[in-house]
Amino acid sequence: MNGSLLRRKAVNHLLTGLCALMVLVALLPLVSVLWLVIKNGAAGLSWTFFTALPRPVGEEGGGVGNAVVGTLYIVAIACAFGLPLGIGAGVYLAESRNGLFARGIRFTAELLAGVPSIVIGIVAYGVVVVPMKRFSALAGGVALALLMIPTLARATEDLVRLVPGSLREASLALGVPQWKTSLRVVLRTAMGGIVTAVLLSIARVAGETAPLLFTALNNQYWNLRPDQPTSTLTVQIFNYAISPYEDWHAKAWSAALVLLLVVGVLNLLARQMTRTRLKGAR
């Protein structure tokens, strides 16, 4: 009796300890990644790193200025396509009741959210690169937009559904047409949350590499033309990392630090917005 109780207690302690250990195991890579990116990347950061063009191997200096601009540019193109479509589809899902059409769209959006980004890259290649016969910023932007739309649609739907029906009724009872009620009352009330969702999805696509490899490709120079290949931070990190040159490895770490900062700031901004929004609602 006593022995079995002891054994059971021992099992309990052992497994509790094991689970605690797993928390540490899970957090170890995070600490390692963050620490090494900062350690290896910080030294290379300088003003010229942000403003200069890349230099060939062996030449001192040089930066990723064109890649920083290119990332911003392609993300902007992605937003131009992705935000209206994603948010619009979300509003549609929230406003249409559970008809067959709406249910089909909801299920499709959920499945699309799970499609690997590299597959989306091939789609953008087929839709934009093949007809234009060249790699381009536009193709990259379309690829990222396709990645934004499903997640943004589902997030928007949930947020619009959270707006109380009584607000919609109040507006309609003032003699406001439905479309204006949707846009100016319902959507406006949900706007704080939607902005958060938009920030999160921008943060996500800004870190994407795979769908850009054969859409935006890369470019050694500045480019702001939508029909030309364009450099991005992520593709630049990839190219530098798999190169055999020490100098470029260092640049990859620094560019990774820049990327993490961009993504991190966007995420923190989104968190902060959520927090103030919740406080305001109370």
Binding site: R8, K9, V11, L15, T16, L18, C19, M22, V23, A26, S32, V33, L34, L36, N40, L85, G88, A89, V91, Y92, L93, S96, F101, G104, I105, L111, L112, G114, V115, P116, S117, I118, V119, I120, G121, I122, V123, F135, L146, I149, P177, Q178, W179, R204, A206, G207, T209, A210, L213, T234, I237, F238, A241, I242, W253, A256, L259, L260, G264, N267
Partner: protein, 322 residues
């Protein structure tokens, strides 16, 4: 029918719709329909680019072919399918116990103040871009595997085919490890949600009968959470299968099938990432698109099954609550 001769048509039966409202309804339906068009477009454009290969090689030969030599127009997908499945399954085997242990500790055992910071850390883990993980894996994980882990495993377990061969660092094991790190947040967040819904009464009942905390978890929490954990596993698997950059940087890029986890291999997304931009002609491009189609099919299947399982689990819960 009910309306009498002198009453006008009942208004609500066919209410006059404001012109702006009708336009708004159309715009919204079009935006919603765009999602369907995108889904259709994805399949169509993949099939269109991939068609030359299916026409020439045939689906079966393509899926079972073991050789990949674009220059001689030989296209076999098996090494990539093998590599994708091996790395993803291995990643699940590593990540699932860690995620489960962690979420169990946070939900059932550990102090409450730990939850918030760990949740934040896991969110951060999820937000790190794939290419940064690849960089880290290439310069930190791979050397560690090559110098420490693989020699150790080779010395002690080298008689197993799994751990045979020279310690290269790059290969299936490195890819699986970095994948495990990357899918951990997905699995942890879903299992975390599932554990939250475990019935407290059963657990407390078990505790009141003198069960230890672990026994209460095993009897009350785990059986209840099993479908959810299974769904989380499938979702994680879906992510792992499609993950590209980090794997591409450490898999070793060798279109071969090897039993040893130390050996270099290749995965579906990696070969697309490496070869698509510089594909040698339409057939090569087509073969890569065909690989993407295979990947698309697998992830679609996995995700639908995962959603169905989790939905059914939820419905069962709601049924029980009602």
């Amino acid at each position: 029918m009910r309306a009498r001769a002198d009453t006008p048509q009942p208004a609500a039966a066919r209410p006059r719709v404001n012109r702006g409202d009708r336009a708004w309804g159309l715009i919204l339906s079009a935006l919603g329909g765009a999602v369907l068009i995108i889904a259709g477009g994805i399949i169509l454009s993949l099939v269109r680019v991939a068609r030359p290969v299916f026409a020439e090689v045939g689906l079966e030969d393509f899926l079972t072919g073991q050789d990949w030599d674009p220059l001689s127009d030989v296209f076999g997908a098996l090494p990539f399918i093998y590599g994708t499945v091996v790395t993803s399954v291995l990643a699940i085997l590593i990540a699932l116990p860690v995620a489960l242990g962690m979420t169990l500790f946070l939900a059932e055992m550990g102090p409450k103040w730990l939850r918030q910071p760990v949740a934040f850390a896991v969110e951060t883990l999820a937000s790190i871009p794939s290419v940064v993980y690849g960089l880290w894996a290439l310069f930190v994980l791979v050397p560690w595997l090559r110098q420490t882990v693989q020699p150790f495993l080779g010395d002690h377990l080298g008689f197993l085919p799994l751990f045979s061969g020279p310690p290269l660092g790059l290969g299936y094991l490195a890819a699986a490890l970095v994948l495990a790190v990357m899918i951990l947040p997905t699995i942890a967040s879903v299992t975390g949600e599932v554990l939250k819904t475990a019935p407290v009464a059963v657990k407390e009942g078990a505790l009141a009968l003198g069960a230890t905390r672990w026994e209460a978890i095993r009897m009350a929490v785990l059986p209840h959470s099993r479908p959810g954990i299974f769904g989380a596993t499938l979702l994680g698997l879906g992510r792992a299968l499609g993950e590209t950059m980090a794997v591409t940087m450490v898999i070793g890029n060798s279109p071969t099938i090897s039993a040893s986890l130390f050996a270099p291999g290749y995965t579906l997304p990696s070969v697309i990432a490496n070869e698509f931009a510089e594909a040698a002609g339409d057939r090569h491009t087509g073969a890569l698109a065909a690989l993407a189609l295979v990947l698309f099919g697998i992830t679609l299947l996995l995700n639908s099954v995962a959603r169905l399982i989790m939905q059914r689990g939820q419905r069962k819960l709601q049924g029980r609550a009602a």
